[in-house]
Symmetry: D2
Subunit: 175 residues, 4 copies
Amino acid sequence: MRKIQIGIMGSAEDLNYSPAALACAKELGKEVAKKGAILVYGAEKEYSSLSTNAAIEADKNGGITVGVTPGNKKEIYGDFKPTVLIPCGLEMGGGREFTLVLSCDVIIAIGGGSGTLTEMAIAYQANIPIICISGYPGWSKKMANKYFDERKRLKCLEAKTPKEAVELAISRANV
Amino acid sequence: MRKIQIGIMGSAEDLNYSPAALACAKELGKEVAKKGAILVYGAEKEYSSLSTNAAIEADKNGGITVGVTPGNKKEIYGDFKPTVLIPCGLEMGGGREFTLVLSCDVIIAIGGGSGTLTEMAIAYQANIPIICISGYPGWSKKMANKYFDERKRLKCLEAKTPKEAVELAISRANV
Amino acid sequence: MRKIQIGIMGSAEDLNYSPAALACAKELGKEVAKKGAILVYGAEKEYSSLSTNAAIEADKNGGITVGVTPGNKKEIYGDFKPTVLIPCGLEMGGGREFTLVLSCDVIIAIGGGSGTLTEMAIAYQANIPIICISGYPGWSKKMANKYFDERKRLKCLEAKTPKEAVELAISRANV
Amino acid sequence: MRKIQIGIMGSAEDLNYSPAALACAKELGKEVAKKGAILVYGAEKEYSSLSTNAAIEADKNGGITVGVTPGNKKEIYGDFKPTVLIPCGLEMGGGREFTLVLSCDVIIAIGGGSGTLTEMAIAYQANIPIICISGYPGWSKKMANKYFDERKRLKCLEAKTPKEAVELAISRANV
């Protein structure tokens, strides 16, 4: 059996997330690693993000990490390198996010601007469960306990703590 | 100079749009054709949509239509065939929508479930202007006069009639 | 019924094609337009190609042209603009070529380095007929009258003149 | 530093590869694992391949494997599951192969019909080194010691044994 692949989707640096959101993202990464799951995230070339910080923390805790990056090159921001790096050949802003989300058995969203929203909407359409950390501003807060449309497929589930989010993710993952 | 490529993005059949929304979509298609613009839409294999109806009407009025369809086959729903058919090689639910939206100089959204939301979020990230018809339920109504995130790139512009929407689209298009 | 979408696939400028190959490519474009077919080609940002020259000539002769370009931007090389421009969201070198070839009912190859070879191999796998102009160096010459593998799907058909190539293309197109 | 990601690209089952080619593919997988490299391969839904057999053997020898599969689903052929599964959202026949190859620091080809040829041509265009096992029929044999075009980027390097191929791959990998 495959290990569960959990996507951590969250705000990029330019959205100025709070120290509390950052701490939460790191805790998410640690929890994913502790549970023996694989952490999947979007690796960018020019900046960091809540997701990248989660990945770094998962790595520090012995977890396997998979970075899905846009374009056709293997350069990514910073010194951290994921266990596996996937340049998907698609641009950022919808394409890269598509490969990224499809590679998850479940996603956890935290904060989130337009990129995270795109990832959540893609997950919804692919019937991939979505866990929303609700304590920080962004689409993850706005969509907690809601459906993306009248089709009412999978409701975005709310989690208040990283631990709760990862436990919920593991219980709902499509593996 | 290229003709303006206007994307019409709207609910699929299974979202049970109203006869009024359908009439509006058709009027959008007619207006796009009358203005000499190219209508770009998502063509599906299994069902119709507001967008497909707009395309049919544009075609009836002598307009050029471009259908972007998921997967690698050229079969699409119904008897109508667009002037140009683009099977983009990407699945539906984010990937096909990416090629679709990037191929537009501006998009007009009407109604809209998770698919239309994905298209709007992709357009926002690519700085492609978004015109929201606000009279029918869906993401197009919810996002009218709003930004997708705190980056405040392009605001989703509200239009109340098809004529207003197409005029606004033409005035804002990136060509 | 849709018009036939004929792809013209050929060497980029840096392969130093001959004046004779260039003249042949232009003639291909003219023939496609005269037959009322749509010419599909790969539009690049940094350079011209045999395909772009074919498109320019089709346009001069009143034909509809569709340029499929890599990435997410609408800038392309030179002053010529196709009737429809499709930035597919995929990088060049396999991805863009995938959307490009899938959008053709048949392809005609002329000259051809690794990019054209990729396009031919994609067409073969999608059962899209391939016509090879055999008079100029490149993969189009090498593959004339051959199959791409032991599965022996569609044989690459040889054509000696642009007129013969376009007639053969129209007779074999999957529409 | 990342571990080296080595792609194993080879014939699918329907090309009727020989028992000797199969044994070689398995040995390739074993060598990749023994060297501590990550094995990247194309996982299909309907059939096995030389690549899948290499991955199974790498897994048996404690290696990390990454399967890149077409479409948006996580079902793959057989009981074997790779360490990481990436459904890339692109169809097979060029698109999936694009994400697959871009995710490699170097590729080793064995046998090979049109799919493997596509992968080799993509690698050439992305300046990803290509090692060709030359003892079995297919594009890997045909291209050994050759360039894909007159641009003469990276020559396809010949290897006669799995051990030699993996050592050569590691020495040439872009990491």
